[in-house]
């Protein structure tokens, strides 16, 4: 991550993709609204993608810490339970990350 030009290129590419996605409905709104498959994907993809991101990032964290893979599972469970009952994203993230960092470094 030391090549600034590479990082800048990635930032510009990500900016273009993100803007294109946000602008697409304003350019092709009629078409998108009429297409049933687009509707289906819109209902299906958010939960599917979040599940995949959660699973793959958890596996990534586990591979950094191969001795105690249950730590990551425990912390993810803590975040899920706190979020389910509190609906406070910041609280869940801070509690989960705090508990994980403590266990990882001093546990």
């Amino acid at each position: 991550m030391t090549d600034n030009l590479y990082v800048l290129g990635v930032i510009v590419a990500m900016a273009l993709v993100t803007f294109a996605l946000r602008a697409l409905p304003f350019v092709a709104g009629q078409w998108l609204q009429q297409h049933p498959l687009v509707h289906r994907l819109g209902q299906f993809l958010p939960l599917a993608i979040m599940t995949l991101l959660l699973v793959s990032s958890t596996l990534g964290a586990m591979s950094d810490d191969p001795d105690r893979p249950w730590l990551e599972l425990l912390a993810v469970l803590l975040v899920a339970v706190v979020q389910w009952f509190s609906r406070n994203a910041l609280l869940s993230i801070l509690l989960g990350t705090g508990a994980y960092v403590l266990l990882r470094n001093f546990g």
Binding site: M1, T2, N4, Y6, V7, L8, G9, V10, I11, A13, M14, A15, L16, V17, T18, F19, L21, R22, A23, P25, F26, G29, L32, Q33, L37, L41, G42, F44, L45, L47, A48, I49, T51, L52, L53, L54, V55, S56, S57, G60, A61, D64, D65, E72, A75, V76, V79, A80, Q83, W84, A89, L90, S92, I93, G96, T97, Y100, V101, R104, N105
Partner: protein
Amino acid sequence: MLPDSPAKHTSALTLTAPVAMGYIPLGTVFGFLFVQAGGEWWLAICASLLVYAGAAQYMMIPLLAAGMSTASIALATLIINSRHVFYGLSLLNRLPASRWQRCYVIFGLTDETYSLITTLAPGSNARNMLLVTLFNQGWWVLGTALGALIGAQAKVALLGLDFALVALFCVLTVEQWRVRKSAAPLWIALLAFAIAYPLSARHAMVISIALSVLAVVFLELLRKRSDGVQP
């Protein structure tokens, strides 16, 4: 909304206060992790100014650190942010008329800005919409700058701070689960991942998303066919 709705009387700044409570700390975590991963502090701020998408910006840190190609990171961004396509659909006729204001509001259409804009009264002026978008991005950039500066000062040797990312995805999954119409996306995604991971651990994410999309297309075709059979 009723003409005397409180949203009309509340200033844009107060309206964005709850977003500030979330964006400043989350932006700080992003800036901090970005710098700790070896990025320059001003590039972290650039990312928050130009990309301005929470989950995608968190994701970019490990991908940049791994030196993934620009095209793969762009594809990953496309996948993570694809849900944003569906936000615009409900705002089609409600954005400011001025071209530049319109462009900026579309650019700044994050999850939180979207939900604030939908609570503004339909007759609410374009200036309010623009200010809400502007303040929200301001909080995010402010947080990023804070985190990047802290991260550049102190090279903390705490393991596992990047778990914040996993926690963020966990929160988003819980919220998607809460509003689910069916549990199928979760099970299909898990099944797809179980197939994709042994094939290639590196590309498991992209493969499983492709498999999930194929599953939706297949189910849609089945549904159409069974609809067609009925009289």
